[in-house]
Symmetry: C2
Subunit: 156 residues, 2 copies
């Protein structure tokens, strides 16, 4: 894809997150994009992201759901405000709560597809639901309550 991902718009001081920061060299560096009303992210687990051999460990799944949801929350906030993602001040969201249901073991030998839907935007809160699929089957579902980052953290 040639379009910029949500995470590519994060200002540099907010681009160090292990899950989604483009400046975190050791991190996952996930990328999220709009696909109609949903936001999509594709991530291929590394061989060491294993739970039991052959399957993805749950912490990676939680991490992907978390960061894809906060990215989607930011993108949705720009959209709701009628603003382009390269305008200031930046929207960035923190996770208030994360719930993941692991429906079946997630095979590690292939790409994972995350699809996020915005369930609610209210004040500084955005609620996002996410599915994570492998080989066309939904393996985990998440619900993430995100809150807009306080200004004092944004300006640090």
């Amino acid at each position: 894809m040639t379009e910029k991902a949500f995470q590519d718009y994060y200002p540099d001081q907010l681009a160090h997150c292990y899950g989604c920061g483009k400046l975190n060299e050791q991190g996952l560096q996930i990328k999220s994009y709009w696909d109609g009303e949903e936001a999509v992210c594709t991530y291929t687990p590394r061989p060491y992201h294993t739970a039991i051999p052959g399957y993805v460990y749950g912490g990676l799944i939680a991490s992907l759901i978390d960061c894809h949801a906060t990215g989607t929350a930011a993108a949705a906030a720009y959209k709701a405000a009628g603003r382009a993602m390269d305008t200031n001040p930046p929207f960035r969201f923190l996770t208030a709560s994360l719930k993941v249901d692991y429906l079946r073991p997630t095979p590690i030998d292939g790409a994972l597809e995350l699809r996020a839907q915005v369930k609610e935007i209210k004040g500084r809160k955005v609620v996002v639901s996410v599915t994570l699929s492998a080989k066309g089957e939904v393996c985990a579902k998440g619900e993430v309550v995100t809150v807009q980052m306080p200004d004092h953290l944004l300006s640090d």
Copy 2:
């Protein structure tokens, strides 16, 4: 500590988890121990486990809570069965659902302490609640529903 951690009893074929497997060289290799009725785990985040500079990213917190809870579930199952942890067949638990409430930003410059309590043991299910503290303050709370691993996964 000289006592063996819960995770040190995992049989080799189940010791590859990124969060808690002693054989996963790239992983977190967490260690959990009984402290009375609670299970405790101490983990020092690496500098790249950042969310925004100075704070731990939520995916690591979810991963630590998850793996500390499944380890605690296994230890609790041995205790409930009146068995030592080095006896066969091994108890190992998968996560069915994970809920994390992030109460405040978690500072990255120091050790994190996780304390787990077993809330319920029923059939193949063990429910574990976990607090994660930094500098003496609880920064996140988790509740993890774990289920005993099916035999066909244990024997692979």
